[in-house]
Protein backbone atom coordinates (compact mmCIF):
# COMPACT_ATOMS: atom_id res chain seq x y z
CA UNK A 1 0.00 0.00 0.00
CA UNK A 2 2.60 2.44 1.09
CA UNK A 3 4.72 1.68 -1.96
CA UNK A 4 1.89 2.13 -4.45
CA UNK A 5 0.81 5.46 -2.94
CA UNK A 6 4.39 6.62 -2.99
CA UNK A 7 4.74 5.69 -6.68
CA UNK A 8 1.52 7.54 -7.47
CA UNK A 9 2.80 10.63 -5.82
CA UNK A 10 6.05 10.33 -7.77
CA UNK A 11 4.17 10.02 -11.06
CA UNK A 12 2.19 13.13 -10.27
CA UNK A 13 5.25 15.21 -9.54
CA UNK A 14 6.90 13.93 -12.76
CA UNK A 15 3.85 14.92 -14.79
CA UNK A 16 3.84 18.38 -13.33
CA UNK A 17 7.49 18.75 -14.27
CA UNK A 18 6.84 17.77 -17.89
CA UNK A 19 3.64 19.73 -18.33
CA UNK A 20 3.66 23.41 -17.61
CA UNK A 21 0.98 24.62 -15.23
CA UNK A 22 -0.49 26.81 -17.95
CA UNK A 23 -1.88 25.18 -21.08
CA UNK A 24 -0.67 26.05 -24.55
CA UNK A 25 -3.81 27.77 -25.65
CA UNK A 26 -3.87 29.85 -22.52
CA UNK A 27 -0.32 30.84 -23.16
CA UNK A 28 -1.25 32.11 -26.59
CA UNK A 29 -4.10 34.22 -25.37
CA UNK A 30 -2.24 35.49 -22.38
CA UNK A 31 -1.04 39.00 -22.80
CA UNK A 32 2.01 40.38 -21.22
CA UNK A 33 3.51 43.79 -21.47
CA UNK A 34 5.90 42.45 -24.07
CA UNK A 35 3.24 41.04 -26.33
CA UNK A 36 0.95 44.02 -26.08
CA UNK A 37 2.93 46.19 -28.41
CA UNK A 38 3.13 43.62 -31.13
CA UNK A 39 -0.61 42.94 -30.88
CA UNK A 40 -1.53 46.57 -31.29
CA UNK A 41 0.71 46.86 -34.29
CA UNK A 42 -0.02 43.63 -36.11
CA UNK A 43 -3.19 41.43 -35.69
CA UNK A 44 -6.52 42.59 -34.28
CA UNK A 45 -7.43 42.04 -30.70
CA UNK A 46 -8.99 38.60 -30.13
CA UNK A 47 -11.30 39.95 -27.41
CA UNK A 48 -13.10 42.26 -29.76
CA UNK A 49 -16.25 40.84 -31.26
CA UNK A 50 -16.56 40.67 -35.01
CA UNK A 51 -20.16 41.74 -35.23
CA UNK A 52 -21.55 44.88 -33.76
CA UNK A 53 -24.14 44.69 -31.04
CA UNK A 54 -26.43 46.94 -33.07
CA UNK A 55 -27.03 44.28 -35.72
CA UNK A 56 -29.43 42.34 -33.55
CA UNK A 57 -29.64 38.66 -32.63
CA UNK A 58 -29.48 35.90 -35.24
CA UNK A 59 -32.73 35.19 -37.02
CA UNK A 60 -35.32 32.90 -35.48
CA UNK A 61 -35.16 30.48 -38.40
CA UNK A 62 -31.47 29.86 -38.03
CA UNK A 63 -31.86 29.38 -34.30
CA UNK A 64 -34.65 26.92 -34.89
CA UNK A 65 -32.48 24.95 -37.32
CA UNK A 66 -29.66 24.84 -34.88
CA UNK A 67 -31.85 23.72 -32.03
CA UNK A 68 -31.55 19.96 -31.68
CA UNK A 69 -32.50 18.73 -28.23
CA UNK A 70 -32.10 15.10 -29.28
CA UNK A 71 -28.47 15.67 -30.08
CA UNK A 72 -27.97 17.38 -26.75
CA UNK A 73 -29.61 14.52 -24.94
CA UNK A 74 -27.58 11.92 -26.82
CA UNK A 75 -24.35 13.72 -26.27
CA UNK A 76 -25.03 13.55 -22.55
CA UNK A 77 -22.92 10.80 -21.03
CA UNK A 78 -24.73 10.36 -17.71
CA UNK A 79 -28.40 10.40 -16.81
CA UNK A 80 -29.80 13.66 -15.54
CA UNK A 81 -30.33 13.94 -11.83
CA UNK A 82 -34.05 13.49 -10.95
CA UNK A 83 -34.39 17.04 -9.76
CA UNK A 84 -33.80 18.20 -13.35
CA UNK A 85 -36.88 16.42 -14.75
CA UNK A 86 -39.08 15.66 -11.73
CA UNK A 87 -41.13 18.47 -10.25
CA UNK A 88 -41.21 18.38 -6.50
CA UNK A 89 -43.71 20.53 -4.73
CA UNK A 90 -42.22 22.54 -1.90
CA UNK A 91 -43.03 21.23 1.54
CA UNK A 92 -43.69 24.69 2.89
CA UNK A 93 -45.55 27.61 1.47
CA UNK A 94 -43.18 30.51 1.92
CA UNK A 95 -45.37 33.34 0.74
CA UNK A 96 -46.38 34.75 -2.62
CA UNK A 97 -43.00 36.28 -3.37
CA UNK A 98 -40.97 33.11 -2.98
CA UNK A 99 -39.62 31.77 -6.31
CA UNK A 100 -40.55 28.15 -5.53
CA UNK A 101 -44.33 28.23 -5.47
CA UNK A 102 -46.45 25.16 -4.73
CA UNK A 103 -48.83 24.13 -7.50
CA UNK A 104 -52.58 24.51 -6.90
CA UNK A 105 -54.25 21.66 -4.96
CA UNK A 106 -56.00 20.47 -8.11
CA UNK A 107 -52.60 19.66 -9.63
CA UNK A 108 -51.60 16.00 -9.12
CA UNK A 109 -48.09 17.17 -8.27
CA UNK A 110 -49.38 19.13 -5.33
CA UNK A 111 -48.96 17.86 -1.81
CA UNK A 112 -52.59 18.70 -1.09
CA UNK A 113 -53.95 16.77 -4.05
CA UNK A 114 -56.75 14.33 -3.35
CA UNK A 115 -57.38 11.91 -6.20
CA UNK A 116 -60.81 10.86 -7.26
CA UNK A 117 -63.64 10.30 -7.89
CA UNK A 118 -63.05 6.59 -8.26
CA UNK A 119 -66.61 5.48 -8.89
CA UNK A 120 -69.93 6.83 -9.96
CA UNK A 121 -72.28 6.13 -7.07
CA UNK A 122 -75.64 4.55 -7.64
CA UNK A 123 -77.49 7.40 -6.01
CA UNK A 124 -75.78 9.98 -8.21
CA UNK A 125 -76.74 8.10 -11.35
CA UNK A 126 -80.28 7.74 -10.06
CA UNK A 127 -80.40 11.46 -9.41
CA UNK A 128 -79.26 12.48 -12.87
CA UNK A 129 -81.30 9.91 -14.75
CA UNK A 130 -84.51 9.59 -12.77
CA UNK A 131 -84.95 11.98 -9.92
CA UNK A 132 -84.03 15.26 -11.55
CA UNK A 133 -86.32 14.86 -14.60
CA UNK A 134 -89.12 13.71 -12.33
CA UNK A 135 -88.60 16.65 -10.03
CA UNK A 136 -88.74 19.11 -12.89
CA UNK A 137 -91.90 17.52 -14.21
CA UNK A 138 -93.57 17.52 -10.81
CA UNK A 139 -92.73 21.14 -10.15
CA UNK A 140 -93.77 22.34 -13.59
CA UNK A 141 -96.27 25.13 -13.42
CA UNK A 142 -97.90 26.04 -16.68
CA UNK A 143 -98.45 29.67 -17.53
CA UNK A 144 -100.41 30.47 -20.66
CA UNK A 145 -98.65 32.60 -23.27
CA UNK A 146 -98.97 36.26 -22.50
CA UNK A 147 -99.31 35.59 -18.80
CA UNK A 148 -97.59 38.10 -16.60
CA UNK A 149 -97.10 37.40 -12.95
CA UNK A 150 -98.24 40.13 -10.60
CA UNK A 151 -95.46 42.48 -9.69
CA UNK A 152 -94.52 42.41 -6.06
CA UNK A 153 -93.18 45.34 -4.20
CA UNK A 154 -89.55 45.58 -3.19
CA UNK A 155 -88.71 43.40 -0.24
CA UNK A 156 -86.59 46.07 1.33
CA UNK A 157 -88.76 49.12 1.93
CA UNK A 158 -87.57 52.70 1.79
CA UNK A 159 -88.05 54.95 4.79
CA UNK A 160 -90.97 57.23 4.06
CA UNK A 161 -91.41 60.42 6.00
CA UNK A 162 -90.24 63.94 6.47
CA UNK A 163 -87.64 63.16 9.06
CA UNK A 164 -84.20 64.38 8.03
CA UNK A 165 -82.79 61.21 9.57
CA UNK A 166 -84.35 59.17 6.76
CA UNK A 167 -81.89 60.62 4.29
CA UNK A 168 -79.37 58.02 3.07
CA UNK A 169 -80.56 55.57 5.67
CA UNK A 170 -80.17 51.85 4.78
CA UNK A 171 -83.39 50.29 3.53
CA UNK A 172 -85.92 48.87 5.95
CA UNK A 173 -86.28 45.15 6.40
CA UNK A 174 -89.35 43.22 5.24
CA UNK A 175 -92.63 43.36 7.12
CA UNK A 176 -93.14 40.89 9.90
CA UNK A 177 -89.56 40.21 10.81
CA UNK A 178 -86.03 41.03 9.95
CA UNK A 179 -85.22 37.82 8.13
CA UNK A 180 -84.91 38.12 4.37
CA UNK A 181 -85.95 34.69 3.21
CA UNK A 182 -84.56 33.10 0.08
CA UNK A 183 -86.62 33.58 -3.05
CA UNK A 184 -88.12 30.53 -4.65
CA UNK A 185 -87.77 30.75 -8.38
CA UNK A 186 -89.77 28.52 -10.70
CA UNK A 187 -88.00 25.23 -11.26
CA UNK A 188 -86.43 24.94 -14.68
CA UNK A 189 -83.84 22.59 -16.05
CA UNK A 190 -81.09 24.75 -14.69
CA UNK A 191 -82.16 25.06 -11.09
CA UNK A 192 -83.39 21.63 -10.12
CA UNK A 193 -82.48 21.15 -6.47
CA UNK A 194 -79.66 18.75 -5.83
CA UNK A 195 -77.84 17.60 -2.75
CA UNK A 196 -74.89 19.86 -2.18
CA UNK A 197 -73.24 18.37 0.87
CA UNK A 198 -73.96 16.36 3.95
CA UNK A 199 -72.63 17.36 7.34
CA UNK A 200 -72.37 14.81 10.10
CA UNK A 201 -72.06 16.14 13.59
CA UNK A 202 -71.46 14.15 16.74
CA UNK A 203 -71.62 15.84 20.11
CA UNK A 204 -69.69 13.62 22.49
CA UNK A 205 -70.98 14.61 25.89
CA UNK A 206 -69.13 11.93 27.80
CA UNK A 207 -65.79 13.36 26.69
CA UNK A 208 -66.33 16.18 29.17
CA UNK A 209 -66.53 13.92 32.17
CA UNK A 210 -64.70 10.70 31.40
CA UNK A 211 -61.62 11.33 29.37
CA UNK A 212 -60.77 11.59 25.71
CA UNK A 213 -61.41 7.95 24.83
CA UNK A 214 -64.95 8.81 23.76
CA UNK A 215 -63.57 11.31 21.28
CA UNK A 216 -61.20 8.77 19.78
CA UNK A 217 -63.83 6.09 19.42
CA UNK A 218 -66.35 8.50 17.96
CA UNK A 219 -63.77 9.79 15.49
CA UNK A 220 -62.89 6.31 14.31
CA UNK A 221 -66.54 5.36 13.99
CA UNK A 222 -67.28 8.45 11.96
CA UNK A 223 -64.26 7.88 9.75
CA UNK A 224 -65.31 4.29 9.13
CA UNK A 225 -68.79 5.40 8.16
CA UNK A 226 -67.89 8.33 5.95
CA UNK A 227 -64.46 7.46 4.43
CA UNK A 228 -63.17 10.79 5.68
CA UNK A 229 -61.18 12.21 8.51
CA UNK A 230 -63.21 14.08 11.10
CA UNK A 231 -62.69 17.64 12.22
CA UNK A 232 -62.84 18.05 15.96
CA UNK A 233 -64.26 21.08 17.69
CA UNK A 234 -63.66 22.63 21.05
CA UNK A 235 -66.20 24.28 23.28
CA UNK A 236 -66.16 28.01 22.69
CA UNK A 237 -67.67 29.09 25.97
CA UNK A 238 -68.12 27.89 29.51
CA UNK A 239 -71.59 26.58 30.19
CA UNK A 240 -71.95 25.33 33.72
CA UNK A 241 -75.38 23.77 33.28
CA UNK A 242 -74.12 21.55 30.45
CA UNK A 243 -70.76 20.93 32.06
CA UNK A 244 -69.04 22.64 29.14
CA UNK A 245 -65.54 23.92 29.74
CA UNK A 246 -64.07 26.40 27.32
CA UNK A 247 -61.38 24.91 25.13
CA UNK A 248 -62.29 21.27 25.76
CA UNK A 249 -62.91 19.01 22.80
CA UNK A 250 -66.58 18.15 22.73
CA UNK A 251 -67.70 17.45 19.19
CA UNK A 252 -66.66 16.50 15.71
CA UNK A 253 -67.97 17.06 12.23
CA UNK A 254 -67.42 15.63 8.79
CA UNK A 255 -68.32 17.45 5.62
CA UNK A 256 -69.14 15.08 2.81
CA UNK A 257 -69.24 16.13 -0.80
CA UNK A 258 -69.37 14.46 -4.17
CA UNK A 259 -68.61 10.78 -4.31
CA UNK A 260 -68.29 10.23 -0.56
CA UNK A 261 -71.57 11.98 0.07
CA UNK A 262 -73.50 9.89 -2.42
CA UNK A 263 -71.98 6.68 -1.11
CA UNK A 264 -72.85 7.63 2.45
CA UNK A 265 -76.41 8.59 1.59
CA UNK A 266 -77.00 5.45 -0.44
CA UNK A 267 -75.67 3.28 2.34
CA UNK A 268 -77.65 5.06 5.02
CA UNK A 269 -80.96 5.06 3.16
CA UNK A 270 -80.82 1.54 1.78
CA UNK A 271 -79.32 -0.37 4.65
CA UNK A 272 -79.26 1.58 7.89
CA UNK A 273 -82.53 3.49 8.16
CA UNK A 274 -84.75 0.40 7.60
CA UNK A 275 -83.04 -1.34 10.49
CA UNK A 276 -83.94 1.28 13.08
CA UNK A 277 -86.53 -0.13 15.43
CA UNK A 278 -89.85 1.68 15.71
CA UNK A 279 -88.78 4.50 13.42
CA UNK A 280 -91.41 6.12 11.33
CA UNK A 281 -89.30 8.59 9.45
CA UNK A 282 -87.90 12.06 9.74
CA UNK A 283 -90.10 14.69 11.30
CA UNK A 284 -91.58 16.77 8.50
CA UNK A 285 -91.14 19.99 10.46
CA UNK A 286 -87.36 19.80 10.19
CA UNK A 287 -85.49 22.37 8.18
CA UNK A 288 -84.07 25.86 8.37
CA UNK A 289 -86.42 27.45 5.80
CA UNK A 290 -83.69 27.51 3.20
CA UNK A 291 -83.55 23.92 2.08
CA UNK A 292 -81.28 22.30 4.65
CA UNK A 293 -82.82 19.43 6.56
CA UNK A 294 -81.48 17.78 9.70
CA UNK A 295 -82.30 14.59 11.50
CA UNK A 296 -80.66 12.52 14.16
CA UNK A 297 -79.39 8.97 14.40
CA UNK A 298 -79.10 7.31 17.78
CA UNK A 299 -76.10 5.14 18.70
CA UNK A 300 -77.97 1.94 17.83
CA UNK A 301 -78.56 3.24 14.33
CA UNK A 302 -74.91 4.23 13.98
CA UNK A 303 -73.92 0.74 15.09
CA UNK A 304 -76.10 -0.64 12.30
CA UNK A 305 -73.86 0.80 9.59
CA UNK A 306 -72.23 -2.11 7.75
CA UNK A 307 -68.69 -0.92 8.47
CA UNK A 308 -69.28 -0.84 12.20
CA UNK A 309 -71.45 -3.92 12.21
CA UNK A 310 -68.80 -6.13 10.59
CA UNK A 311 -66.18 -4.90 13.02
CA UNK A 312 -68.40 -4.31 16.01
CA UNK A 313 -65.95 -5.73 18.53
CA UNK A 314 -63.43 -3.02 17.73
CA UNK A 315 -65.68 -0.34 19.15
CA UNK A 316 -66.47 -0.21 22.85
CA UNK A 317 -70.23 -0.56 22.92
CA UNK A 318 -71.08 2.41 25.08
CA UNK A 319 -68.80 4.75 23.18
CA UNK A 320 -70.41 4.66 19.75
CA UNK A 321 -71.76 8.17 19.23
CA UNK A 322 -75.11 9.41 18.04
CA UNK A 323 -75.16 11.63 14.99
CA UNK A 324 -76.85 14.68 13.58
CA UNK A 325 -77.12 14.42 9.82
CA UNK A 326 -77.63 17.71 8.01
CA UNK A 327 -78.38 17.47 4.31
CA UNK A 328 -77.66 20.71 2.51
CA UNK A 329 -79.55 21.04 -0.75
CA UNK A 330 -79.57 23.76 -3.33
CA UNK A 331 -83.32 24.09 -2.88
CA UNK A 332 -84.34 27.47 -1.55
CA UNK A 333 -87.28 26.28 0.53
CA UNK A 334 -87.87 23.30 2.76
CA UNK A 335 -90.73 22.01 0.68
CA UNK A 336 -88.52 21.42 -2.34
CA UNK A 337 -85.81 19.90 -0.22
CA UNK A 338 -88.27 17.52 1.40
CA UNK A 339 -89.59 16.52 -2.00
CA UNK A 340 -86.07 15.79 -3.18
CA UNK A 341 -85.24 13.72 -0.12
CA UNK A 342 -88.49 11.82 -0.40
CA UNK A 343 -87.59 10.90 -3.95
CA UNK A 344 -84.19 9.78 -2.79
CA UNK A 345 -85.83 7.57 -0.19
CA UNK A 346 -85.99 9.30 3.17
CA UNK A 347 -89.46 8.94 4.69
CA UNK A 348 -91.12 11.85 6.47
CA UNK A 349 -93.90 11.82 9.00
CA UNK A 350 -96.01 14.27 10.92
CA UNK A 351 -97.46 17.63 10.24
CA UNK A 352 -96.01 19.49 7.29
CA UNK A 353 -95.20 23.12 7.90
CA UNK A 354 -94.16 25.33 5.02
Amino acid sequence: MAESSLSLRLARTWRSFIKPSVCNRCLQTRRTLATQTTASQGQRDADLEESSSLAGPPSAASRANDFDPLRIAKSRKRQLVPSRYQFRSPKYYRGPLHPHQPPPPSDPASREFVPGPFSSPRLEQAYHNIIAPDFMTMCYQHTPPGFRPSQKGPRLRPWLGDSPYFQNRPLRGPRGGDVLRLLRKPITFRNIPMIERVTLHAYVKSALTSGSSFIHVAGMALQAITNQRVVIHEARTNEASWGLIKGKTVSMTTDLKGEDMYHFLGKMINVVLPRIKDWNGVRATTGDNSGNLTFGLDPEAVAAFPEIETNYDAYPGKMIPGLHVTIHTTATCDKDARLLLQQIGIPFYGKVVD
Partner: protein, 188 residues
Protein backbone atom coordinates in the same frame (compact mmCIF):
# COMPACT_ATOMS: atom_id res chain seq x y z
CA UNK B 1 -76.02 25.87 -9.03
CA UNK B 2 -77.32 22.58 -10.22
CA UNK B 3 -76.87 21.40 -13.74
CA UNK B 4 -78.87 18.31 -13.09
CA UNK B 5 -80.08 17.42 -16.54
CA UNK B 6 -76.79 17.91 -18.29
CA UNK B 7 -74.35 15.03 -18.43
CA UNK B 8 -71.65 15.51 -15.86
CA UNK B 9 -68.41 15.56 -17.80
CA UNK B 10 -66.63 17.83 -15.40
CA UNK B 11 -68.04 17.50 -11.91
CA UNK B 12 -68.47 20.75 -10.07
CA UNK B 13 -66.89 19.29 -7.00
CA UNK B 14 -63.55 17.55 -6.97
CA UNK B 15 -62.07 16.35 -3.73
CA UNK B 16 -58.87 18.12 -4.55
CA UNK B 17 -60.43 21.46 -5.28
CA UNK B 18 -59.79 23.88 -2.46
CA UNK B 19 -62.73 24.68 -0.29
CA UNK B 20 -62.86 26.74 2.81
CA UNK B 21 -64.61 24.01 4.76
CA UNK B 22 -62.29 21.09 4.03
CA UNK B 23 -59.07 22.72 5.18
CA UNK B 24 -58.32 21.49 8.63
CA UNK B 25 -55.33 23.71 9.21
CA UNK B 26 -55.74 27.28 10.21
CA UNK B 27 -54.38 29.48 7.45
CA UNK B 28 -52.89 32.65 8.79
CA UNK B 29 -52.91 35.29 6.11
CA UNK B 30 -50.64 37.79 7.75
CA UNK B 31 -48.08 35.27 8.92
CA UNK B 32 -44.55 35.67 7.62
CA UNK B 33 -43.35 32.21 8.50
CA UNK B 34 -43.32 29.23 6.18
CA UNK B 35 -46.53 27.23 6.39
CA UNK B 36 -46.40 23.45 6.19
CA UNK B 37 -48.44 22.04 3.32
CA UNK B 38 -49.94 18.95 4.91
CA UNK B 39 -50.74 15.93 2.85
CA UNK B 40 -54.43 15.14 3.41
CA UNK B 41 -55.10 11.99 5.37
CA UNK B 42 -57.51 9.65 3.71
CA UNK B 43 -58.60 6.25 4.98
CA UNK B 44 -58.11 3.34 2.60
CA UNK B 45 -61.30 2.43 0.82
CA UNK B 46 -62.42 -0.81 -0.77
CA UNK B 47 -65.11 -1.51 -3.29
CA UNK B 48 -67.92 -3.46 -1.71
CA UNK B 49 -70.88 -5.15 -3.33
CA UNK B 50 -74.02 -4.51 -1.33
CA UNK B 51 -76.73 -7.08 -2.01
CA UNK B 52 -80.17 -6.07 -0.89
CA UNK B 53 -82.73 -8.56 0.32
CA UNK B 54 -84.50 -8.81 -3.04
CA UNK B 55 -81.27 -9.65 -4.85
CA UNK B 56 -80.49 -6.24 -6.34
CA UNK B 57 -76.91 -5.21 -5.87
CA UNK B 58 -74.77 -2.12 -6.15
CA UNK B 59 -71.18 -1.24 -5.46
CA UNK B 60 -69.99 1.04 -2.73
CA UNK B 61 -66.68 2.53 -1.68
CA UNK B 62 -66.28 1.77 1.99
CA UNK B 63 -63.58 1.44 4.58
CA UNK B 64 -64.67 -2.09 5.43
CA UNK B 65 -62.70 -4.81 3.62
CA UNK B 66 -65.66 -7.20 3.36
CA UNK B 67 -66.12 -7.74 -0.39
CA UNK B 68 -69.81 -8.63 -0.37
CA UNK B 69 -72.35 -7.36 2.11
CA UNK B 70 -75.72 -9.08 2.22
CA UNK B 71 -78.39 -7.17 4.04
CA UNK B 72 -81.33 -8.89 5.63
CA UNK B 73 -83.32 -5.79 6.43
CA UNK B 74 -83.42 -2.90 3.98
CA UNK B 75 -85.73 -0.72 1.96
CA UNK B 76 -86.93 -3.67 -0.11
CA UNK B 77 -88.52 -5.53 2.80
CA UNK B 78 -89.33 -2.80 5.27
CA UNK B 79 -92.98 -1.82 5.56
CA UNK B 80 -92.15 1.86 5.90
CA UNK B 81 -90.79 1.93 2.36
CA UNK B 82 -93.39 -0.49 0.98
CA UNK B 83 -96.67 0.68 2.48
CA UNK B 84 -98.81 -1.05 -0.16
CA UNK B 85 -97.29 -4.52 -0.05
CA UNK B 86 -99.45 -7.20 1.55
CA UNK B 87 -96.65 -9.55 2.58
CA UNK B 88 -94.82 -7.02 4.69
CA UNK B 89 -97.86 -5.87 6.60
CA UNK B 90 -97.97 -7.59 9.96
CA UNK B 91 -101.37 -9.17 9.41
CA UNK B 92 -101.98 -12.70 10.67
CA UNK B 93 -103.74 -14.99 8.23
CA UNK B 94 -106.27 -16.89 10.28
CA UNK B 95 -108.07 -19.03 7.73
CA UNK B 96 -109.06 -21.83 10.07
CA UNK B 97 -110.11 -19.42 12.76
CA UNK B 98 -107.96 -21.08 15.37
CA UNK B 99 -106.35 -17.87 16.58
CA UNK B 100 -109.73 -16.24 16.87
CA UNK B 101 -111.00 -19.23 18.79
CA UNK B 102 -108.10 -19.04 21.20
CA UNK B 103 -108.68 -15.40 21.68
CA UNK B 104 -112.36 -15.96 22.28
CA UNK B 105 -111.58 -18.43 24.98
CA UNK B 106 -108.54 -17.03 26.70
CA UNK B 107 -108.26 -13.51 25.38
CA UNK B 108 -108.57 -10.49 27.61
CA UNK B 109 -110.87 -7.59 26.98
CA UNK B 110 -108.18 -5.84 24.98
CA UNK B 111 -107.98 -8.61 22.43
CA UNK B 112 -111.67 -9.34 22.21
CA UNK B 113 -112.56 -5.73 21.66
CA UNK B 114 -110.36 -5.76 18.59
CA UNK B 115 -112.45 -8.29 16.66
CA UNK B 116 -115.65 -8.84 18.52
CA UNK B 117 -117.69 -10.01 15.59
CA UNK B 118 -115.29 -12.72 14.59
CA UNK B 119 -115.24 -13.95 18.12
CA UNK B 120 -118.98 -14.32 18.20
CA UNK B 121 -118.95 -16.48 15.11
CA UNK B 122 -116.17 -18.73 16.25
CA UNK B 123 -117.62 -19.11 19.70
CA UNK B 124 -120.89 -20.40 18.37
CA UNK B 125 -118.91 -22.94 16.35
CA UNK B 126 -116.81 -24.02 19.26
CA UNK B 127 -119.70 -23.99 21.69
CA UNK B 128 -119.93 -27.77 21.75
CA UNK B 129 -116.34 -28.35 22.68
CA UNK B 130 -115.82 -25.49 25.06
CA UNK B 131 -118.26 -26.30 27.88
CA UNK B 132 -116.96 -29.83 28.24
CA UNK B 133 -113.43 -28.71 28.82
CA UNK B 134 -114.54 -25.90 31.05
CA UNK B 135 -116.57 -28.23 33.20
CA UNK B 136 -113.66 -30.58 33.43
CA UNK B 137 -111.37 -27.86 34.65
CA UNK B 138 -114.04 -26.66 37.02
CA UNK B 139 -114.46 -30.05 38.61
CA UNK B 140 -110.72 -30.29 38.98
CA UNK B 141 -110.59 -26.97 40.69
CA UNK B 142 -113.46 -27.94 42.94
CA UNK B 143 -111.72 -31.10 43.95
CA UNK B 144 -108.54 -29.44 45.13
CA UNK B 145 -108.50 -25.63 45.47
CA UNK B 146 -104.90 -24.65 44.83
CA UNK B 147 -102.93 -22.09 46.71
CA UNK B 148 -102.55 -20.00 43.59
CA UNK B 149 -106.24 -19.97 42.96
CA UNK B 150 -106.89 -18.69 46.39
CA UNK B 151 -104.39 -15.96 45.95
CA UNK B 152 -105.69 -15.09 42.49
CA UNK B 153 -109.00 -13.71 43.64
CA UNK B 154 -107.92 -10.16 43.34
CA UNK B 155 -106.62 -10.70 39.83
CA UNK B 156 -109.84 -12.43 38.81
CA UNK B 157 -111.79 -9.43 39.98
CA UNK B 158 -109.46 -7.17 38.16
CA UNK B 159 -109.89 -9.10 34.90
CA UNK B 160 -113.65 -8.99 35.27
CA UNK B 161 -113.48 -5.27 35.73
CA UNK B 162 -111.35 -4.93 32.63
CA UNK B 163 -113.83 -7.00 30.69
CA UNK B 164 -116.64 -4.84 31.94
CA UNK B 165 -114.86 -1.71 30.80
CA UNK B 166 -113.91 -3.03 27.41
CA UNK B 167 -117.30 -4.58 26.65
CA UNK B 168 -119.12 -1.34 27.25
CA UNK B 169 -119.78 -0.67 23.59
CA UNK B 170 -120.41 -4.27 22.63
CA UNK B 171 -123.10 -5.18 25.09
CA UNK B 172 -125.77 -5.67 22.47
CA UNK B 173 -123.72 -8.12 20.49
CA UNK B 174 -122.88 -10.08 23.61
CA UNK B 175 -126.47 -10.27 24.74
CA UNK B 176 -127.66 -11.57 21.42
CA UNK B 177 -125.49 -14.62 21.42
CA UNK B 178 -125.43 -15.12 25.21
CA UNK B 179 -122.03 -16.67 25.08
CA UNK B 180 -120.36 -14.93 27.93
CA UNK B 181 -120.75 -18.00 30.16
CA UNK B 182 -118.22 -20.37 28.57
CA UNK B 183 -115.75 -17.55 28.20
CA UNK B 184 -115.68 -16.90 31.89
CA UNK B 185 -115.33 -20.55 32.63
CA UNK B 186 -112.35 -20.76 30.32
CA UNK B 187 -110.71 -17.73 31.81
CA UNK B 188 -110.08 -19.26 35.20
Amino acid sequence: MASALRPVLRPTHLPSLPTSTTTTTYICQSCRHARLLRRPKRPYTFTQLVTLSDGSAFTLRTTSPVPVYRSTRDTRNSPLWNPSSKELLNVEDDEAGRLAGFRARFGTGFDTAKDGKKEVDTESNNASSVPASSTATRSKSLEEPKFEDEQNTFEEDDMNLLDLISSFGQENAQQDSQTSEPKKGGKK
